[in-house]
């Protein structure tokens, strides 16, 4: 009995971690939707949603109920299997990268041996990351690139010309901007000397001040990353997939009710994961400069403040997304392609070559 418990315990911990992380992310995403409507309202001189609950705080749940109770329409001539598969792929690929991001430092001061049956005997470390893998950056890029299937298959399986054109348009957009995103990420990887996200954060801690957050040495890379992140997540000013006023929505034209809600959630989860990526790569993740002088490294308050800093940075990025949505007009498709291939990708590659040259001469 005890042996079995000891064997199962690590898996249970990981499972609880996954559930908590997904719940937390989905709650943050729900309130991002509310926050977006509120902030857009303020930008446009309106009030925003204020009917459900005080100050509109229950609005996400009302939205969810509405999505559930709407009629679920399936086009007659669609390929049913792929039609049902596409939104699942979209949401799964949006949620999966969350497991590799470290959202706080390792807590070392708690002795976990008080747990019953000795299941945690000798365990002193609590890592605030669900899956610590060696190739975290590549994992995120790989899962993001698989996410394109959701959009392509949705466009193809609906058997409608608007969906097909929208699917082609947005998958071309995502494939094109993935390259610029990769080029900007490799600059950071060269500076940190590792593909491991934990190592990348550690590389931003101890170095001289001009290397402390990679946004300083990699400012061009940061700009390229941010622009291609907007395009990857299909947000304004690159939101051609859902330009319903001009181009008839796009790949999700034929989707309704809960299946549309899955696409909608996938978009916001994507926003959230890309913001986490930007925070970890360019803003030092959970690291707060100077905090180690006040609290001991590895103590609980240090970890809590670090987690708070991480979430704060991510929410700052989410606010930037909403702010830009309220400010900028939409690109035309040919402008978008020209911008991606003729400006952003060369800029990213030039930044990469510059980084390589500088690192080479510094390490001599």
């Amino acid at each position: 009995m005890e042996e079995t418990l000891k064997l199962i315990f690590p898996y249970v911990v990981v499972l609880i971690g996954v559930l908590l992380a997904f719940q937390g992310v989905l709650m943050i995403v729900a309130y991002t939707v509310l926050g977006e409507r509120k902030v857009l309202g303020w930008i446009q001189g309106r009030v925003g949603p204020n009917r459900v609950g005080p100050w509109g705080v229950l609005q996400p749940f009302a939205d969810l109920l509405k999505f559930i109770f709407k009629e679920d329409i399936v086009p007659n001539e669609s390929s049913k299997f792929i039609y049902y598969l596409a939104p699942m792929i979209a949401l799964t690929c949006a949620l999966m990268p969350i497991v590799v991001y470290p959202f706080g430092p390792t807590i070392t001061t708690i002795d976990w041996s008080f747990l019953p049956y000795g299941i945690a005997e000798g365990v002193h470390m609590l890592r605030l990351v669900i899956a610590h893998i060696d190739v975290g950056v590549l994992f995120v890029l790989a899962i993001t690139s698989v996410g394109v299937y959701g959009i392509m298959l949705a466009g193809w399986s609906s058997n409608s010309k608007y969906s097909l054109m929208g699917g082609l348009r947005s998958s071309a957009q995502m494939i094109s901007y993935e390259l610029a995103m990769g080029a900007s990420v490799i600059g950071v990887v060269i500076l940190a000397g590792s593909l491991d996200l934990t190592e990348i954060i550690r590389a931003q801690m101890g170095s001289p001040w001009y290397m402390r957050w990679f946004i300083i040495p990699q400012f061009i890379g940061f700009v390229v990353f941010l622009i291609s992140a907007f395009a990857e997540t299909n947000r304004v000013p690159f939101d051609l997939p859902e330009a319903e006023t001009e181009l008839v929505a796009g790949f999700h034209t034929e989707y309704s009710a809960l299946k549309f809600a899955l696409f909608f959630m996938a978009e916001y989860v994507n926003m959230f994961t890309v913001s986490m990526m930007a925070t970890v790569l360019f803003l030092g993740g959970w690291y707060v400069p100077g905090l180690s002088h006040i609290f001991d490294v590895g103590s609980v308050p240090y970890a809590l403040i670090s987690i708070g800093a991480f979430v704060g940075k991510v929410i700052g990025f989410l606010f930037l997304y909403i702010w830009i949505r309220g400010t900028l007009p939409r690109f035309r498709f040919d402008q978008l392609m020209n911008f991606g291939w003729k400006f952003l990708l060369p800029l990213g590659l030039a930044n990469l070559i510059g980084t390589i040259v500088v690192v080479f001469f510094l390490n001599r």
Binding site: A142, V146, W156, A172
Partner: protein, 187 residues
Amino acid sequence: MVSTALFFLFAGFAIMCAISMVYHKNPLYSAISLVGVFISLACIYVTLAAPFIAIVQILVYAGAIMVLVVFVIMLLNLDDEPKSSRLKYLYALGGGLGLVLLAQTLFVVYAVSRTPNQAIDPNATVGNTIDIGRAMYTDYLLPVEIVGVMLLMAIVGSVVLARRLSQPALELVIDNEEERRSEELTS
């Protein structure tokens, strides 16, 4: 225990997806089945302690090559394959080839399972990024450079192939061709 269960799960999934890829007439269904094969093979690579190769497998095969294939299928708007007009002996040939290869596989499994030396060193980590990077840029520097040049050639080649000629250039090509043909006729 867990890794055994995972291996047989993913191996079964890979074989099922591979069979469904050959079985389906619609190219898009085939492509999705092939993506299933790639992802389950990536999971098997993880159980073989090769995380870097596993991620690169998803990144390159599932995320780049198959996305391009699906894109081309959508762009050309391909329908189901029409009823085959192919010679019947090709099916017999394919079946015979499959049987021969299957027999060969059985022989390999039988022969290898009789060799004694199959223990794994559990502490050996050969699939980490640092090992692969070191081997790639010391022992295998020349092959890596050659692969880089080859990829560049592929880019140039595909751009040339997929290029649409502008109207005057197209007319020039047609004129040259007609001139050549008339010369051939007169000579």
